[in-house]
């Protein structure tokens, strides 16, 4: 493991009295290596922005420690933390033009004018705002302000770059273009960055590791592939992925040399015992009831297997989304060809053991992924 740039140790945030107020961030532990890009991913109110602000120093930590570049910083004011931050909203100094906004820190550091200009032009061109450098913040659009704020952060020298929804107001096309450029810029310079976002595409595209947050709790911290293939719990499983993972309660039992997973509504999934690792079988049978998860693109139509009744069939131009009534719930499957099934038709589906995720119904914790223990 390379050098640790940022470490959060048992960090808690209460708004109001400690132990009594709103518990916005709950006991977070996280390491970020030098040169890594981390995405804090979660819905609004999940505690990701509070976490970012504690790292920046705008919010005090209620409990726990923050180490940055080898220093303990959680008691230091923002000015002493040596971090740069890009803001989601309107954060430009309204009295100076975009160029001076971006160049602000460089000028304060008394860099030669030629250097400042060169760096401003480079960053501005990367972010497609080269043509508005002379404008005042009040006269440019929200998306342009956001990019200027991003430029102002990226141009600085800092130990850590905090990007709070830096592309929230941009059009999808521009977002795709800038994602690639920003990642290249950060990686090329070996910068360490934390990105806050609620957009999983952005998190997947930019981040080396994703921290999924919900209810103030760090649900899972891992690479995009890990999060997708081995979700640590039911929340991460259903939150990450579009369309969301299908989940069904099942009752597991071993009959002869077969593992039966009984769905609600009288359906039964039957697999040979050998399809699952022995520990997985044991874990399922011991609990009796578990929650089964399967991603929509892993569900296949086949000649046999349990039946489902089609409720909707949408062709999105590049893939079909089929929703079907299945085991007292709804099963969604994705096909990459145009699916020729009518509403009301009966289809049979196959769920490959390698694509199944098994979760504990009480704690929501993952028990097994693809027939192997979690």
């Amino acid at each position: 493991m390379s050098e640790t740039m940022l470490r959060l140790e048992n960090v808690d945030k209460f708004y109001g009295a400690v132990g009594k107020g709103v518990h916005a961030v709950r006991n977070i532990n996280m390491d970020v290596a030098r040169g890594e890009i981390i995405a804090l991913l979660g819905s609004s109110g999940c505690g990701k922005t509070s976490t970012l602000r504690m790292i920046a120093g705008f919010e005090e930590t209620s409990r726990g420690k923050i180490h940055l570049a080898g220093r303990e910083v959680h008691r230091l004011p923002p000015v002493k933390r040596h971090v740069a931050m890009a803001f989601e909203g309107y954060s430009l100094y309204p009295t100076v033009n975009v160029r001076d906004n971006i160049a602000f820190a460089l000028k304060a550091a008394r860099l030669p004018q030629a250097d400042v200009d060169a760096r401003v032009n480079e960053v501005a061109e990367m972010l497609e705002i080269g043509d508005i450098l002379g404008r005042m913040p009040g006269s440019i659009s929200g998306g342009q302000q956001q990019r200027a704020s991003l430029a102002r952060a990226l141009i600085r020298d800092a130990d850590l770059y905090l990007l709070d929804e830096p592309m929230g107001q941009l059009e999808p096309q521009l977002r795709t273009l800038l994602r690639g450029r920003i990642k290249h810029y950060i990686k090329q310079r070996g910068l360490t960055a934390i990105l806050v976002t609620h957009d999983q595409t952005e998190a997947n595209a930019l981040a080396d590791r994703i921290a999924v947050m919900e209810g103030g709790v760090l649900q899972q911290y891992g690479s995009p592939a890990e999060i997708k293939e081995r979700p640590a719990n039911l929340f991460t499983g259903t939150f990450v992925g579009e369309p969301p993972m299908n989940v069904f309660p099942v009752t597991g039992s071993v009959v002869g040399d077969q593992l039966h997973l009984d769905l609600e509504g009288g359906l039964d999934l039957v697999y040979p015992q050998s399809a699952f690792a022995p520990q997985v079988r044991e874990a399922i049978v011991k609990r009796g009831r578990v929650v089964l998860g399967v991603r929509p693109y892993a569900v296949r139509r086949s000649g046999e297997g349990p039946a489902a009744r089609v409720l909707a069939n949408q062709w999105l131009g590049d893939q079909s989304h089929i929703a079907a009534a299945f085991a007292n719930g709804t099963l969604v499957l994705v096909e990459h060809d145009r699916a020729n099934v009518d509403i009301g038709a009966e289809i049979r589906v196959a769920l490959d053991p390698a694509d199944l995720h098994v979760f504990d119904p009480e704690s929501g914790k993952a028990i097994a992924h693809g027939a192997e223990l979690a």
């Binding site: 909203g89 100094y93 005042m136 009040g138």
Partner: protein
């Protein structure tokens, strides 16, 4: 707005004229009165044709009031100076105390902050007479009665809540991210307050200061009770024109004209800040 019909234009013009007439006529009439003697003012029916005289202004400026009962000494110019001094000093003290407090109430959420802010506002609900009697006794005991400092202190009851609540709103309208950006770029909290928050709220502070000045200038009851003749502002001093031989309408009018001049000039000057205050909305895009 581009497609206003002629009828609409006429109606709007008429409405504006009526409003202006309604508000400006008394001032216009007082202005005329200030150049007339009591005889021409009181004749029936009134007329706008008269022989103008500067006697009212001379009487005020020289401090000698000629009445039917003889010459009276009045200290109108001293009153005017008192008004100017008391209002300016009160607003200055109010700004020094109120602006940082407003910033604190806008940006920091501390225990009881709303309660404290509301308590300060509630000073404006209480009838002044309610606090005046006990205040008079206290002021006499601690030697603050009939002093400028005592009056400026009491004027904070008028000035401080006004400044606090108006300026707080302006601070709250500044996006916090602008300040965060400045702080994270390597500046202390204090520098951010001075370099970002104060200039951005400048128009609001100017507006609050102006309004507070007018309120302080127009105050009557505090100075009437707590100050003697040589510390009293024009609002109280104008009582001197009600003499044993009648009310000196001409001098009252001239006094009003002189006493609205400073606030009028201030309002004209501060108008551009008020306009800037409206364009601050550009920050929000």
């Amino acid at each position: 707005m581009e497609h206003t019909s002629t009828l609409e234009k006429i109606l709007r013009g008429t409405a504006i004229t009526l409003v202006i007439l309604f508000f400006m006529f008394p001032i216009f009439w007082i202005f005329l009165m200030s150049f007339q003697t009591n005889e021409t003012i009181l004749r029936v029916p009134p007329s706008i044709v008269f022989e103008p005289t500067l006697s009212n202004y001379t009487a005020l400026i020289t401090g000698k009031l000629d009445t039917a009962a003889g010459t009276l000494e009045i200290s109108f110019m001293k009153n005017l100076w008192n008004s100017l001094f008391l209002s300016t000093a009160s607003v200055a003290v109010g700004l020094v105390l109120g602006v940082p407090a407003a910033y604190a109430f806008a940006r920091l959420k501390f225990r009881g902050s709303e309660d404290i802010a509301f308590t300060l506002l509630s000073f404006r609900f209480a009838p002044p007479l309610l606090v005046l009697l006990p205040l008079t006794i206290y002021f006499q005991q601690i030697g603050l009665a009939d002093t400028y400092i005592g009056l400026i202190w009491v004027y904070q009851l008028i000035v401080l809540p006004l400044i606090l609540w108006i300026v707080r709103g302006y601070f709250e309208d500044i996006p916090a991210d602008v300040e965060y950006a400045y702080r994270i770029a390597g500046h202390s909290w204090g520098a951010t307050f001075r370099k970002i928050a104060l200039p951005l709220a400048g128009p609001g502070i100017a507006a609050a200061g102006l309004l507070a000045f007018i309120f302080a200038w127009n105050n009557f009851i505090f100075a009437l009770v707590l100050a003697s003749a040589d510390k009293q502002p024009v609002t109280v001093g104008a009582l001197a024109f009600v003499t044993a031989s009648g009310i000196q309408y001409g001098q009252v009018a001239a006094g009003i004209v002189l006493s609205i001049l400073p606030t009028f000039a201030l309002a004209l000057y501060a108008q551009r800040y008020l306009v800037e205050g409206l364009s601050l909305g550009a920050v929000k895009g």
